[in-house]
Symmetry: C2
Subunit: 351 residues, 2 copies
């Protein structure tokens, strides 16, 4: 029997609903493939603040450290967003978790589903066949640099800092992924303005020597924001720093037709976390309308990570089967749609 | 006779070619409306580095300070981009000029031309009728904060700093513009992570009291990058900081169908500069294929700024006439197209 400890952090908004479906899937997979999953639940985000005052309680961190993988729902609550004075914020929980677990690389695969291409705001000929893998650095840069607000509120600053050591591991990962794919790596930066971007360029130029079969290109982030929409098919693997990656990867999510489909993995040397790229979508909370597929596909990435490739493949097939048979939530088909849990069960039944 | 001193900075790449057409237009306008324009040329960017070693020679700055308006071409040269070690860069010229002249607000109006809607990668129903005015803060933030690279190349940092004084003037401009339009202002930031963003939110919340008729919304930059493509019509006036504005406004340029059409104005208390939003496009240099319309529409913004409204309106009509009659460069019509100077002359003749 293969035995795995999964830390489960449902979080805020629609997080708990979509995580329920992922657990449903994992239960079925455990049975079908004779694996064993132990689920250890932890509090995080606004939920954790309301219950403990801390967006990442020590207990949650402990569960995650001891896990083989972390399954994460979503984070964020509007009551904090519109209050610039709030000292404790849900997002701090996720950011601290990433940092503490050393999850330095956020991977976001982007694909188009032919049956959903019409849902995209982009024209079919622009996106059909686009297939991009984004590597976003996740534990440095302006997210984690020194921050300061003058007590009088007169000024504030945020420091974006990078060292070569922050860049090297994720750069190697991205080059290696490019080798397995179409051998093209695009570094997105703002090297005409930022010192940190020039450090990224220099470091990647050096690492490129180890990967002579990969073509390394550079693109300024402003141009990249345009090119992703004008011609997404020009990209294969994208590598970028934390803040640019946040913007670019959310932007790129429009290519596939729905952010409700997009999974992500955040990996480090010891731990790994799997989450949908969409947020907590508080307006939809408790309505049973949230699309569980992004979370379910994050489970597939998790199964890959745990070396349970047959299960991962089977799960992806089942998701495609659901999409092709239009067994989807309202965001993908406003005419005929199913609830969060109906879609989860449909996929589970197919496994 | 109305007399104006115009500083003309053609810059790099296709800059000189498109500026030629703008001067052609201004000559015709001078005659038709009985204005007088004195053109004082200055070096900037890579051109200036090659000739003087300085991306913004003192003489150029002087010409600009004494001008009623600055007409700017483009900046940037690939020989610098791929060299992380270069100490002097073309872009420093433009950044220093913005700072020295105190051009704190970059305005980018975005419209769709019905005859060009098919050129956009976005579907017609998504973009038709979109009309957005972007205000990007231009002389602070991470562009102008302290920068440092460790001499051993081990690490680097860039500081993003904002004070209330940096935010207040442009916020008032944006609120006032919203009052004249659809009374909706969206502040784009990353207030769930950055102290500077929270300062922006707080400051704008306060200023909002003076504009009770304007609805102020907040949007995280990652979500905004998505929403701009999913549903651009939800935006009226956008306000944002320097780096986010760089990314968001280039991204938004895809809405109109061509970056070759988009003008911008950078204004301060004493001076103002007008430039296309596209770059120096070095691959096209000297080929006579560059689209002069973005520069020509920047001239229209300049005429507005100089209170020459009748001339500005006439010029905009002439540009629309050229676009409707498909008298355009190759980027807008690959089947039947005209050269940079033919398009410029066609528009000039119509005035
Ligand atoms: C919730 C927020 C702090 C987070 C980020 O900006 O990293 C989110 O947008 C993401 O991309 O995972
Ligand atoms: C050339 C570059 C420094 C500049 C910027 O980033 O501001 C350009 O992209 C722009 O938007 O005007």
């Amino acid at each position: 029997d293969k035995y795995f400890k999964i830390a489960v952090l449902p979080g805020d908004g629609i997080g708990p609903e979509i995580i329920n479906e992922s657990i449903k899937i994992l239960d079925v997979i455990a049975e079908a493939f004779e694996y064993k999953f132990q689920f250890d639940y932890g509090l995080i985000g606004a939920e954790a603040i309301f219950k403990t005052g801390d967006p990442l309680p020590e207990e949650t961190l402990k569960i995650c450290r001891e896990s083989d993988a972390v399954l994460f729902g979503a984070i964020g609550d509007p009551s904090f967003d519109n209050n610039p004075e709030a000292k404790v914020r849900p997002e701090q929980g996720l950011l601290k978790l990433r940092k503490e677990l050393g999850l330095f690389a956020n991977l976001r695969p982007l694909k188009t589903y032919s049956s959903l291409i019409e849902k995209s705001p982009l024209k079919r000929e622009i996106i059909e066949g686009a297939d991009i893998q984004i590597f976003r650095e996740l534990v440095s840069g302006i997210y984690f640099g020194e921050k300061f607000t003058d007590p009088d509120g007169g000024y504030a600053y945020d420091v974006c800092k990078y060292s070569r050591e922050d860049i090297i591991p994720i750069a190697h990962m991205a080059f290696q992924e490019a080798q397995k794919r179409n051998k093209k790596l695009t570094l997105i930066d703002k090297a005409n303005v930022l010192d940190t971007s020039r450090l990224w360029r220099k470091t990647c130029q050096e690492i490129a020597q180890d990967y002579p079969d990969v073509q390394l290109d550079y693109m300024f982030v402003d141009n990249a924001a345009m090119q992703l929409i004008l011609n997404p098919k020009q990209f294969d693997v994208i590598l970028t720093e934390n803040m640019f990656g946040d913007i670019i990867s959310d932007e790129a999510s429009v290519i596939g037709g729905s952010i409700g489909l997009l999974p992500s993995a955040s990996v480090g040397d010891k731990n790994a976390l799997f989450e949908p790229i969409h947020g907590s979508y508080p307006q939809a909370k408790g309505k049973g309308i949230a699309n569980p597929i992004a979370s379910i596909l994050s489970v597939a990435m998790m199964l890959d990570h745990l070396n349970l490739k047959p299960a991962a493949d089977k799960l992806r097939q089942s998701v495609e089967h659901a999409i092709e048979n239009k067994y989807v939530t309202i965001d993908l088909n406003t005419k005929q749609y199913y609830s969060t849990s109906e879609v989860g069960s449909f996929i589970a039944d197919h496994i």
